[in-house]
Amino acid sequence: MAAVTLTNVVKRFGTFEVVHGANIAIADGEFVVFVGPSGCGKSTLLRMIAGLEDISGGEIAIGGKLVNDVEAADRGIAMVFQSYALYPHMTVEQNLSFGLRMNGNPKADTDRRVKRAAGILCIEELMQRRPKQLSGGQRQRVAIGRAIVREPQVFLFDEPLSNLDAELRVQMRVEISRLHKELGVTMIYVTHDQTEAMTLADRIVVLKAGNVEQIGAPLDLYDDPANRFVAGFIGSPKMNFLKANVVEQDQRSVTVELANHGGAKLKKPLCEALPAVGTEVVLGVRPEHFFEVGEGDCDIPVKADVAEHLGSVSYVYANAGAEELVVEREAARQRASGDHFTVSIKAERSLLFDKTGARIR
């Protein structure tokens, strides 16, 4: 088992820089998820940790040992790939044992490890089949099994669930969580799916265009995002962003006027430097943080365009001015398109961002 430390890690393809100095410290036994939209550099980072990509700048250490120039095979890592990367011409058993056999590991030990991995993943009956004869979920298990067989210090997962259907994805998610508890090994997991990130991670690393935007526990990111990007990326449906202007300022708070909602005003207490009167700002409100009239600090009238009823919860899409709002309601089955209703915003359940997207606390 081992901690993983990235210090100022840079990746360039030719002159094109795709990772701009990442600093990430992952504790021993931690489950860390790299999340971000496609092209944010998350897979590149993972492949640099794996040793499949050269490191253009900075340092990566695994278990306290600098690994920049260490071959992938000698880094004590195992990796599960998006396409599973099972050898199509080998049986499941041969797939699991291939790496060990090729490196002259004693046969008895290889057998023991393969048996153990098969046991953990309940794939004992599949050992003589070839990848073609397996379902997507079974292939996924074999791919994970192949990683377990290596008995690595660090597990790396590169979008391992993106080829599975929705139901299986939930099932495998739980399974990977269980595996982490059982093995207690450091795991680094790359995904573009914030739900996977929220449910699996001890800590999440949010990446955008080669920069680390924020690192933190899932609920910390949800409650206290560092900027507008993280606020929008974590949470589903996405946070609403309402244009606003600062109209008043006193000791510890500012009052903002919503630009598209008929002069509605919200007084927002802040603890850091206050924005000046007249500053354009953005107010972020999650769909689940719109309250009934009078419950909050600022009421805004909206008109429903489309209502989606999922049973336990309903989403109402409302157009107000140039802004589309998504409102989540638990008991709103009666809402239909065209309805007029009023929602309320609470100051402590809203976030303020400046024009560049940085958080105003």
């Binding site: 000698d74 011409h89 790496g99």
Partner: protein, 278 residues
């Protein structure tokens, strides 16, 4: 009013009425090769039209063997083709693997040189190759002369490069992470997966070597060192020669390849369709 199926039938008949005579014309030379190979010379040179095989193949073969040591030449041809095919598949798939799967200094240059010279006619290198092999290396009339120079063929490299680069990269990364050495990844992961492509390449290369005429004609012209096509070629145009024998030789060169073609048609066509060999 004609129905859909009637119109389809009409088109189908038209298609077969056109294609059948063309197919027969195309098969005719092959058929005549077989017919000639079974006729005595006085049959071939008689005024009548003979379109069916006789029973003189063995006589013709004996005549051929009298005119030239054809069995020996076939032996050389088979050994050379087998060795050449094995070596060429090995060399070109190794090179194709490197070009498909590694980043390295000078890669652009190597690819540019291979691509840039691929359409140059073989005739350009014929004379220097001949001078080098015959005069400088003193290797005329040896097996090495037949096998080694033709190994330069770069179409195989491009074919295998294509085959390897179509495989998912994660497969090889997975092996790398598991600590499998590069040459073992090549041997135990890449090559087994490339089996259909290797088969196609091997068949095309074997055929090319088996039928190769110009280079063996130039470099191995001594009677004991000739390949079968060269040995047969020396007889064409001689006055006192058995044409039935020549035809028997032609059949012996052609029929095995036709059988291979029928059995392995899929690989054959894959190889040609990919432009594996000029």
């Amino acid at each position: 009013m004609t129905s859909r199926s009637q119109r389809r039938l009409g088109r189908s008949i038209l298609l077969h009425l056109f294609l059948t005579p063309l197919a027969l014309v195309w098969l005719f030379p092959l058929w005549m090769m077989v017919v000639f190979s079974t006729m005595p010379d006085n049959g071939i040179f008689s005024p009548g039209i003979e379109l069916l095989p006789h029973d003189g193949f063995l006589d013709n073969f004996n005549n051929l063997q009298r005119d030239t040591n054809f069995v020996g030449a076939i032996g050389i041809s088979v050994s050379v083709a087998v060795t050449y095919t094995f070596l060429s598949v090995l060399l070109t798939s190794m090179a194709g693997w490197a070009l498909a799967r590694y980043e390295f200094l000078g890669k652009g240059l190597v690819v540019a040189i291979i691509f840039g010279t691929i359409t140059l006619p073989y005739a350009v290198v014929l004379i220097p190759q001949f001078i080098m092999v015959a005069r400088d290396f003193q290797l005329a009339n040896t097996w090495i002369a037949l096998i080694v120079p033709p190994l330069f063929n770069s179409l195989g490299v491009l074919f295998m490069r294509q085959a390897f680069s179509m495989m998912p990269a994660e497969l090889f990364d997975a092996a790398r992470v598991e600590g499998v050495k590069e040459w073992r990844i090549f041997l135990f992961v890449a090559l087994p997966l490339a089996r259909p492509m290797l088969a196609a390449l091997a068949i095309i290369l074997f055929l090319a070597s088996w039928n190769n005429y110009l280079w063996p004609l130039l470099i191995n012209s001594q009677p004991g060192a000739m390949t079968a096509p060269v040995a047969l070629g020396t007889l064409i145009g001689l006055t006192k020669v058995s044409w039935g024998g020549i035809m028997a030789g032609a059949v012996m060169l052609t029929v095995p390849m036709l059988i291979v073609f029928v059995l392995l048609q899929r690989h054959f066509i894959a190889g040609i369709a990919a432009g594996a060999v000029k």
